[in-house]
């Protein structure tokens, strides 16, 4: 009796416990996959923007939808990337560099079939300038809404407040939107921000499948028939299903399994080997202008001491970090500018890992009265492990020379808030100098001008009239050679003053399935041109 009962109980429990795996034939999965018609589609696993509005956000993921849903007056092309006309067929600039006349390409159609005209360009620039966030802040210092006018059905004039050298480099940031469609969807004077956040009003090669967008989660796009630039390949990708995978480990599994055709472009160096070994996968290397640097609070004791800052600069184990943590996937960047960009002095040596030198400078700082015994704080960013790894390496090296450093962690929103006031700004923190527009001003100009104080860009609290003057002059002159000279000089000066600890320019790595052909990384962010891709097999 007891034995029989026992068997019965255990069988019941066992059956229930095993409920999950039992009776789950594998074909059920494929069965449905076939129904989903996903095979002919590109299943894009790269990061997805929070919004489809190309004006209100400007970050790495947003470039993907901006480039493929919209066209701009200029685009980046070539290597190294330079701004080249796209919707603009002809550009005439006045001698003082303040007035620019653009001729707009005729015959370009928006996705709703209407023609793209000068009115749309004017509307787009005015909208961009009116919105408080995203692209606007980069233009507003030198441009006013009244300065953009249509001078004909296909001609636009833009007048700047003062000559601004990076202007053309900034133009690929501004997507041209369908004015009629936008105005039809405007509610409460919101520039249709609510509507366009989940829809498109563009003329680009792809259009949004209505209702398919969920921020950070999913987006379906379809190829636009008769796109004005044409399709390079005979069988371009008709359907793009964006399904970003946010978990690090699962992302690799998903691309290995074929659930997605591509990951985002931050495959960590530790994972490279696995991707290279996996059948049907390849590791794509994407050169990046993005820099990585430690921001040092120059306004606070002991970091306000030049020798102390130099000690920090000598203490960081650059090669170890690049070779071991990043497994050689980045190049050392000794100064504030990406090494491949003009304006970076080719002969700049920068600092090397040298603890003896660090000790010497530390002693000098101590003699000068700097409070070198104070515990300094490195604020690492939650969710960005590299910042934590850099912090731990620096901490470990500083300990060897007798400087104590603690590591705090903050989420990005928190860190940004801290940098707004000099008192709360972190002693040291780190971030990436991402590419918004390809011009030295994007890095050195944005980070070390006095105008940047009070934002996270100015979190070094660096105040130097001479540098500020050079940067302002470089912005105002249109003479490329003169600008180069000024940026090189500013770079050298910043390095001499050891303002920050500049570490590397990265490579980005993306795992892409073999069946995806024609893949070429975009110049800015995730802005690759999907038109060039096709699927094999």
């Amino acid at each position: 009796m007891r034995r029989r009962d026992l068997l019965r109980y255990s069988a019941t429990a066992g059956a229930l416990g095993a409920l999950a795996p039992i009776g789950m034939p594998g074909f059920a999965v494929r069965d449905a996959q076939a129904q989903g018609a996903g095979a002919a589609a590109l299943r894009w696993g790269g990061n997805l923007s929070r919004t489809l509005d190309p004006h209100t956000v400007y970050d790495v993921p947003s470039a993907f939808t901006r480039v493929n849903l919209y066209d701009c007056l200029y685009e980046y092309a070539g290597n190294p990337p330079e701004p080249k006309p796209l919707l603009a067929t002809e550009t005439r600039s006045s001698a003082d560099g303040k007035t620019h006349d653009f001729t707009i390409r005729a015959g370009v159609k928006f996705h709703d079939g209407s023609e793209l005209t000068a009115e749309d360009v004017v509307y787009s620039f005015r909208r961009m300038l009116a919105l408080p966030q995203g692209v606007g802040p980069a233009f507003r210092p030198f441009m006013k809404a009244e300065g953009v006018t249509a001078t004909g059905r296909h001609s636009v004039r833009m007048e700047l407040q003062f000559p601004y050298a990076p202007f053309f480099a900034c133009l690929p940031m501004v997507a041209i939107m369908n004015k009629r469609l936008m105005e039809a969807n405007t509610v409460n004077n919101d520039w249709a921000a609510a509507w366009v956040a989940g829809n498109d009003a563009g003329s680009g090669p792809y259009k949004v499948v209505p209702g398919s967008f969920r921020p950070l989660d999913s987006l379906d796009m379809e190829a636009v028939d008769g796109y004005w630039r044409g399709w390079p390949h005979s069988r371009p990708i008709r359907q793009v299903l964006c399904r970003p995978v946010r978990d690090d480990a699962t992302r690799l599994l998903a691309v290995e399994k074929g659930d997605i055709d591509s990951t985002h472009s931050y495959i960590r160096p530790d994972q490279h080997e696995r991707v290279r070994r996996a059948p049907g996968l390849r590791l794509v290397e994407e050169p990046q202008l993005r820099t990585y640097l430690l921001r040092v609070h120059n306004g606070r004791d002991p970091m306000n001491n030049l020798d102390f800052r130099k000690a920090l600069s000598y203490a960081f184990p650059y090669e170890l970090f690049i070779q071991r943590v990043l497994r050689g996937t980045a190049v050392r960047s000794p100064g504030p500018l990406p090494v491949s960009l003009w304006g970076h002095p080719r002969d700049l040596q920068g600092y090397k890992h040298d603890l003896d030198a660090a000790r010497r400078h530390l002693d000098a700082a101590r003699r000068a009265g700097a409070n070198v015994t104070r515990e300094i704080t490195f604020t690492a960013l939650v969710g960005f492990d590299e910042t934590e790894q850099a912090a731990q390496l620096l901490q470990s090296e500083l300990r060897k020379i007798g400087v104590t450093m603690r590591i705090a962690k903050a989420v990005w929103a928190n860190a940004v808030q801290m940098t707004q006031r000099e008192e709360t700004s972190p002693d040291i923190w780190s971030h990436w100098g991402s590419t918004y527009y390809i011009d030295p001003d994007n890095w050195v100009g944005q980070f070390y001008s006095k105008a940047a104080l009070g934002t996270q860009r100015g979190s070094s609290w660096y105040r130097d009239d001479e540098t500020d003057g050079m940067l302002a002059a470089a912005r105002a002159t249109l003479d490329r050679a003169e600008r180069q000279r000024l940026y090189e000089a500013a770079s050298r000066r910043l390095v001499d003053q050891a303002v920050d600890v500049w570490i590397y320019n990265g490579m980005a790595y993306r795992a892409v399935r073999e069946r995806v052909k024609g893949y070429r990384p975009g110049a800015v962010g995730d802005g690759l041109d999907l038109r060039e891709l096709w699927l094999e097999g």
């Binding site: 690090d248 943590v325 492990d385 731990q392 390496l393 705090a408 962690k409 928190n414």
Partner: protein
């Protein structure tokens, strides 16, 4: 909290009294040990816990390396004679970190649950004792906290106030306050109806004395048993918060944090995760066995057997 006023001078005279008493004295502790004895698993749990605590205390003697020492040359080494449990992504010795990690993990768990026990227990006792609208209001407040699921509350607090050890402890303990308040309140409601509470009031005892000297010992066993179970939860919550990136700040080793770090490399260096995982398992196991034993030993309904 006032301490129980043990009669001073109890020692010698009490012993003398015990001598001429025919029946052997059966104090609470002795009874507990007796019942505890009946179940060997409770002793196993206690033994495991003692080992873990000793590991934590003697970590500096036992650990072969400095748990913070990075050796980028020895990154992600599998277990070997040099590194018994291998190394992590910073080239730190996993064994040493597991040993040192016992400290923080225990501190976080014990401090958080201890706080929750004291705060929740006091709320439950006072609320149950006072009764009326105060009780209703307190229990509503507890419902508020309770309907804020533990990990989410922890997440909000730690994300917003920063992932400091202190905030982590506060966050975890806050999530555990309502259950402790409830578990302390229920028996309080029953105990306060008993005549000895009225007797205490008639004898002019203060409310504080009645609550903490007379009622508290009668609800203690429930609270303590739940405490041992929740210690395990605290360790898990710490691991989960670490997973989201909101754990104890680096490079301080904690088991939860190590699991999370290891997760990064789970596909290419799975050994890093195994050992802290086993350590968590052992701790949770020990605490649960102990909790089970304590519950069985203090549950009057189970004493009969």
């Amino acid at each position: 909290m006032s301490a129980a006023p043990a009669p001073t001078g109890n020692g010698a005279e009490a012993a003398a009294i015990a001598e001429d008493s025919p029946a052997p004295r059966r104090g609470g502790l002795a009874r507990l040990v007796g019942l505890f004895n009946a179940n060997w698993t409770s002793w196993a749990g206690l033994a495991m816990l003692v080992v873990i605590v000793l590991m934590a205390i003697f970590a500096p003697l036992l650990a072969p390396y400095d748990p913070l020492d990075q050796s980028i040359l020895n990154r992600l080494k599998p277990p070997s004679a040099d590194f018994l449990m291998g190394t992590d992504a910073f080239g730190r010795d996993v064994l040493s970190r597991v040993l040192y990690g016992a400290r923080i993990s225990l501190i976080v768990a014990i401090a958080a649950i201890g706080l929750a026990m004291v705060a929740g227990g006091t709320i439950g006792l006072v609320s149950g004792y006072v009764g009326g609208r105060f009780d209703v209001a307190m229990m509503q407040a507890m419902d508020v906290l309770m309907s804020f699921p533990s990990l989410i509350l922890g997440l909000v607090i730690v994300a917003l106030l920063g992932p400091e050890l202190r905030n982590l402890i506060v966050a975890i303990s806050l999530t555990a306050v309502p259950p402790f308040a409830r578990i302390a309140r229920a028996p309080t409601l029953a105990v306060k109806e008993r005549a000895f509470v009225e007797a205490g009031r008639a004898l002019g005892f203060s409310h504080a004395r009645i609550i903490f000297v007379h009622i508290l010992p009668n609800v203690m066993s429930e609270v303590v048993v739940m405490g041992t179970l929740w210690l395990a939860t605290a360790v898990r919550v710490e691991a989960s918060l670490s997973f989201i990136g909101l754990g104890v700040k680096p490079p301080t080793p904690t088991w939860g944090g190590m699991m999370r770090d290891a997760f990064e490399n789970i596909l290419d260096a799975p050994w890093i995760a195994i050992y802290p995982g086993l350590a968590i398992l052992a701790l949770v196991f020990a605490l649960n066995l102990l909790g089970d034993g304590l519950r069985d030993a203090t549950d009057p309904k189970l004493r009969g057997e």
